[in-house]
Symmetry: C2
Subunit: 204 residues, 2 copies
DNA sequence: GAACACATCCCTTAAAAACAGGATTTTTAA
DNA sequence: TTAAAAATCCTGTTTTTAAGGGATGTGTTC
């Protein structure tokens, strides 16, 4: 059985590398590649591969959003997330959005092949390092509301509660409440930790 | 004239990609690769290539430090920085430490070849995007002192001046002074902006 | 229609950070 | 050796946050 593999990544070197790693595999067919979300969707409109290797960081859209979109339109296509970072929030979000696996870019050929073969049968593949990460961290991918994200962004800009209140046409006490909730949600002691954790978890 | 190229990168996919991109070039000789700083240095102890493509993020040491070390020991080897990020601070530091060029991982084969050929003759190569970045930003790669970095890290951990003071066996007012200087150096209005800018500039 | 999440608003008090303006000693580098 | 940079400490004041407590209106969902 031949598995058709498509790649979405904005780095030529990575695309070339994967092609090179897969070119001698007999049961892998190279379906092509895209360097952004738009051309990936355009391709899928024409034909569907069995497996998509999808980078998290794309120029026009995050891989996390693209993953969701692709899975909604083409549920039979299996997706493997691909990224440099072993960051919990991203892995979690990709899986939540329907990805069947997650592989880091330092994966060996064996790992990559194992991932593709596992995923092609409908199972889930996580590399050793990735499943370690998922285990070790307290599953703390926090969900922020629209307003909380807005406030968080303005805090990160260096604005005070007063300034944020004026900008958003709400009371200072409301901003303070949002701030309180942000600290609690992210389990941060103060502003400094809040910003650091927010960036680490991809909220900023 | 044949240029011997060596690569240091901890991602197999990238190494494979570059090898694939260069394998048909007649005046490029593949000298080998290393996936960390230690084995790069071990290789150089035996023989020296003409050009090293060096990733910024290595498992055992930052490419920035490795660049400096290599240039001190083997000044005749030309180094091209390689990374995913178009971050001013990294580019600046690589150049300061003796790198002759900087290429992003989404470079095309043409760009890569141009970079290698330019650098091999002793000139400096910066890709279009990179030189744009260097131009657009106010050369604000701030230099922090050892103590300032220490304090900054503890601030980011969520510690108060008081706690930092106790931890470092100094007075709270001293911590406050360092904090003042950090805000001024990074041109931040308050803690929130300080942390954001620090992460953006690679201090955290 | 009850339960729930969200966004909004208010009060109080204490702690922390920002701002202003110094000063001294130790290290480092020219 | 001498000047500059770094690290240390001080006294104030003002502004901002944190932490505690609540309350109300508006949707959505079960």
């Amino acid at each position: 059985m031949v598995t058709k593999v498509f790649i979405v990544d904005d780095h030529y070197m990575v695309i070339e590398g994967i092609r090179s790693l897969l070119q001698n595999e007999k049961n892998i067919e190279w379906a092509g590649h895209a360097s952004n979300a738009a051309s990936c969707l355009a391709y899928l409109h024409q034909q569907q591969p069995d497996v998509i290797l999808m980078d998290i960081n794309l120029p026009d859209k995050s891989g996390i959003d693209l993953c969701k979109e692709v899975k909604e339109k083409y549920p039979s296509v299996f997706i493997i997330g691909l990224s440099t970072f072993n960051q919990l929030s991203f892995i979690q979000k990709m899986i939540d959005n329907g990805a069947s696996g997650y592989v880091l870019k330092n994966a060996t050929q064996q790992e990559l092949m194992e991932a593709i073969e596992t995923v092609a049968t409908g199972k889930t593949y996580l590399s050793f390092e990735v499943s370690q990460t998922l285990r070790n961290t307290n599953n703390s991918t926090v969900v922020l509301t629209r307003r909380e994200k807005e406030v968080l962004n303005l805090i990160a800009e260096g604005m005070t509660n007063n300034e944020i209140a004026k900008k958003l046409f709400i009371s200072t006490t409301t901003v303070d409440t949002h701030r309180k909730n942000l600290l609690e949600k992210l389990n941060a002691r103060n502003t400094a930790a809040l910003i650091k954790l927010s960036i680490a978890q991809g909220h900023l």
